[in-house]
Symmetry: D2
Subunit: 347 residues, 4 copies
Amino acid sequence: MIRAGIIGATGYAGNELVRLLMQHPEVSITNMTAHSYVGKQFDEVYENYRQLNEMVLGEMDLDYLSEACDVLFLALPHGTASKVITKEVLEKTKVIDFGADFRLQDAAEYEAWYGVEHHGKSLLPQAVYGLCEVNREKIKGARLIANPGCYTTCSILTLRPLVAEGLIDLHTIVVDAKSGVTGAGRGLALPNMFDECNETVKAYKLASHRHTPEIEEQLSYAAGEKITLTFTPHLIPMNRGILATCYATLKQKVSYEDVKAVYEKYYGKEYFIRLTKKGVFPETRWVKGSNFLDIGFTIDERTNRIIAIGAIDNLGKGAAGQAVQNMNLLFGLPEETGLSCPPIFPA
Amino acid sequence: MIRAGIIGATGYAGNELVRLLMQHPEVSITNMTAHSYVGKQFDEVYENYRQLNEMVLGEMDLDYLSEACDVLFLALPHGTASKVITKEVLEKTKVIDFGADFRLQDAAEYEAWYGVEHHGKSLLPQAVYGLCEVNREKIKGARLIANPGCYTTCSILTLRPLVAEGLIDLHTIVVDAKSGVTGAGRGLALPNMFDECNETVKAYKLASHRHTPEIEEQLSYAAGEKITLTFTPHLIPMNRGILATCYATLKQKVSYEDVKAVYEKYYGKEYFIRLTKKGVFPETRWVKGSNFLDIGFTIDERTNRIIAIGAIDNLGKGAAGQAVQNMNLLFGLPEETGLSCPPIFPA
Amino acid sequence: MIRAGIIGATGYAGNELVRLLMQHPEVSITNMTAHSYVGKQFDEVYENYRQLNEMVLGEMDLDYLSEACDVLFLALPHGTASKVITKEVLEKTKVIDFGADFRLQDAAEYEAWYGVEHHGKSLLPQAVYGLCEVNREKIKGARLIANPGCYTTCSILTLRPLVAEGLIDLHTIVVDAKSGVTGAGRGLALPNMFDECNETVKAYKLASHRHTPEIEEQLSYAAGEKITLTFTPHLIPMNRGILATCYATLKQKVSYEDVKAVYEKYYGKEYFIRLTKKGVFPETRWVKGSNFLDIGFTIDERTNRIIAIGAIDNLGKGAAGQAVQNMNLLFGLPEETGLSCPPIFPA
Amino acid sequence: MIRAGIIGATGYAGNELVRLLMQHPEVSITNMTAHSYVGKQFDEVYENYRQLNEMVLGEMDLDYLSEACDVLFLALPHGTASKVITKEVLEKTKVIDFGADFRLQDAAEYEAWYGVEHHGKSLLPQAVYGLCEVNREKIKGARLIANPGCYTTCSILTLRPLVAEGLIDLHTIVVDAKSGVTGAGRGLALPNMFDECNETVKAYKLASHRHTPEIEEQLSYAAGEKITLTFTPHLIPMNRGILATCYATLKQKVSYEDVKAVYEKYYGKEYFIRLTKKGVFPETRWVKGSNFLDIGFTIDERTNRIIAIGAIDNLGKGAAGQAVQNMNLLFGLPEETGLSCPPIFPA
């Protein structure tokens, strides 16, 4: 059994990770920490685990945890992981980091967008961006995985074949994304109170959301040139789900079938990426509770644009599901292990 | 592998059953039927199954299905199962019926509440009411299981220890229940349109809901005398979940601990029934997607009443989860088989 | 024009009051205070007032405000109003208090349920409980109005005719109430975060909610004897609305028409109380944004119980609407003034 | 008093119109029709009007109604108004049509997008597109008003200053719009059932929504040249509200203040258009129940794009509110008459 430790277990992503790992046939959760709940049982914080997980939450002690665990999942505020993850830690255990600290290879870009100093620059070269369908082989040999952000996973994977195959004008990309409220985390904040975000929709962090450089960096790798794009997140009154509606101008006239073939080339064999049929478009309800990404697209002939849409569960493929998928790769397990439950609907 | 057939697979309960059986290690779904969708793939009706379940939906042919399947799950409108289930069918296969036809042992009561003739009276003696925690032994040897209703499962199990141990005045029972909208089914109806039931709450079928006699019959068995009670269902703007708030006057002064001991006596060893700690009360969010029933209670000293609250997922323990639990009993499997995933939250 | 001051304007009730007063033809809002937002414009706190109400929020200065305003609305935490409202203040202005401090005539009861000392006992004799349909005449001559609570308004008015006419056994009353989340106020609290109360239902403060003694005191006046009852509030995932499902055993056999006549006797001429037709029951959606209370009932012949249901908007008739109705009475205006907009649906 | 007739009163837009007209000081609703509810009282269909509007719904008889009413509001399926509105009708009464039949001046375009023949081509020259802030003077003298669609009102007004002033590259416009479910109407349809659209988000009618040509036609007038753009509507789990996120590439470098000045030039004196402050963006909750359009924008310096966001209540400024505004213009009343209630929040 893989001994897993979860650091920062009481956020929504940590909580979903616990659910997934408890179903995983090859994993045993041996340690859980949560700074704000030290000494409490996990099922007192999340009562869905009543009688199922009564583990007492501890403090983060990386010396100890890196010995006690074969893999550590970190779900910490940005700027923290890069302080506590060291070469020594990585010699003893593998780390899957839910935060942003190791996602951007360019530390200057990180510091510009996040407004804090990066404390783990020396580890950046060995950090692997854990987008499994893109970096599968690198992930297998890594010890430090930067688990991608929710918006970014959905946006990058939806756009990547179009970018990589040169189908679209790289200066015309607009990503209009919609997220459920769990994306904002469990911290107390007036805008996330029920009466403040129920029955309304808004855009936020216009032209300034921190997932932007992450999307741009990864798509730039695919394009072989630097991409700058517009990314606008919106808050939707629902618990889970991200829908990314991506717009770009086609470089030349292509048919639906042409584009479909490109998507099939990239994702035809991917278990967790499901291409919808012509005329069918992704909806977040169809991926809820799962690690799937659904992708559909149409060509707007009148404007020569493609509209490609991706849908994921932000806590699944956008966080905990992908982390488990990364873990499976790290430990040589089939990627679907522990992730085979169909999406739950209606939920 | 147990070969399972699902008749009426495209309702919400059928759909949830498919999800559970697909995770079940000992079951293979061999047949699915749905009158309104014959010839369609299941994943065209429920796109969460995209690439996971592309089985073509057939017509109900019980001669064939009773041969082809080791167990048949029926999710049909009331009045239908009692027409199509025959002695011959039951000789060839086991049946778990989601409908009401075989739940009431008293056919006259059935006909009075449902307003239709009962066509399967001769089978009533062998039908077992599939409330696993109550009828476990009988279920093991049965061939025809009447899977209990959602409101009833929650209400009966919450009240049963109090009734059976003579703690409450049987003339004072009031059950005020709250259900999510999936309880109303997937049929088109104006009151269940989003804008009609979102952002509002209402009571419905006051003093006339068909789950009333089912609750009364089962509690009467527990009491050893005929019980009549008031049951009021309410519609809540959420997808899933039932909360039953049960009121009754205590026959004598008892402490919290006294009552707790009674609940422990009945349910202390039950995997799927979780008693909350003192001062903690069930919420539907903590059981979502699962087969758990959470029960909590308080004593209102000022009025000498007990308030006992039960919470289930109406599609889980209230329908498909309990059906799988029944199937496990029928086939000699551990009851938790395929049902061990923790509840999903937030969802 | 009546010069109105609103103290504590930035809670949900205060905010709704502003909306109502801005439509009121005889009122001018001259002062608004909010301790946490001093110096801010009101439309920065509630952007629905963009360009409509840019008044700057001040500190509470009762000396000044009682001179500057003909009426003061107080929406303050309990225990505060009884400290700041004095005989001197009441000589200069009229006060409508949204809080609990002057609702219970029995200060000992107040101190027992609220756990704080009552600082304004000397004013209790002149405080009038502002349930307009009950205390209309007293209100007209008062200077200090205790505006009733939301649950209490709905529960008392729904049950009062039954109690006053001796139709029900006073020992059997159970009120099972359901409220939208605005009832919990705008203060930051984990249980009221979107993801924590969306898609779930729970009971809370069982046998201990502070509205209980208020309901009991008022119904006791109606009965002419002391009433003790069970009151259970529930939280519903919706913004506004309260539904109170009230249960009681009938003292003797009465027909629907008998009871209907009793309700007509009490409320037939009340503009803001609407009795539903036979077989129709209140839903919170039909009163949203208004000062109406809808009441419907049925007789459960099998158990000899009556089930009476009331529905209000908790911010309307349950708070700000009733406050305006009280103000109209205080100033000799027709009760409906400024309150005639039909409920808004769907909203 | 203006005698108003409402034809098709039982859709969501008709229902909201009734609410607004009942508050309007210069209007008396004299006739209401609804094909599916002939003979029923309006308050039986919409119980918010209990005791407030018990008018009996009639059949549509235009000969009679055009005599009996000073203005007729038509809320009918597309293709119907162009059949029943005639020169004779318009000689006797004024018509405000909620449908699409008279919105596009180009009948061929109408027939292409709507797939039906246009039966009222001869009336097109006198039909005025009722976007009050654009066509105010024409509206005053008209007898046939084509009340704009909900998406279109929001999109056109948000983009118009940018287009008219030549700030943006007209080939780069993308409108990503989000709507509440009332936008889909009250007709029974599986996708609009609560459990099907709650807790999910989807795009629909990609590159094919019928509001597209309407937006294009009006913006083309503003630009003085033909505009083609991409419009993508999304369904959001909320009752009311439209948010239009509009993207376009700036033709040259402009500052926030430059663009702000342009918006001020166009809308600075418009009562119903509210420009947000820098860094503040519209949310649908702030306009709910009102006739306001809130507009905010930012400049994405990195990509040289402008992101302009508009928010309306789809039943308010997107339908009934604008219809009342049009009526006020038609009858020489101040535009705000009957529309001055602030938006309702939280609701």
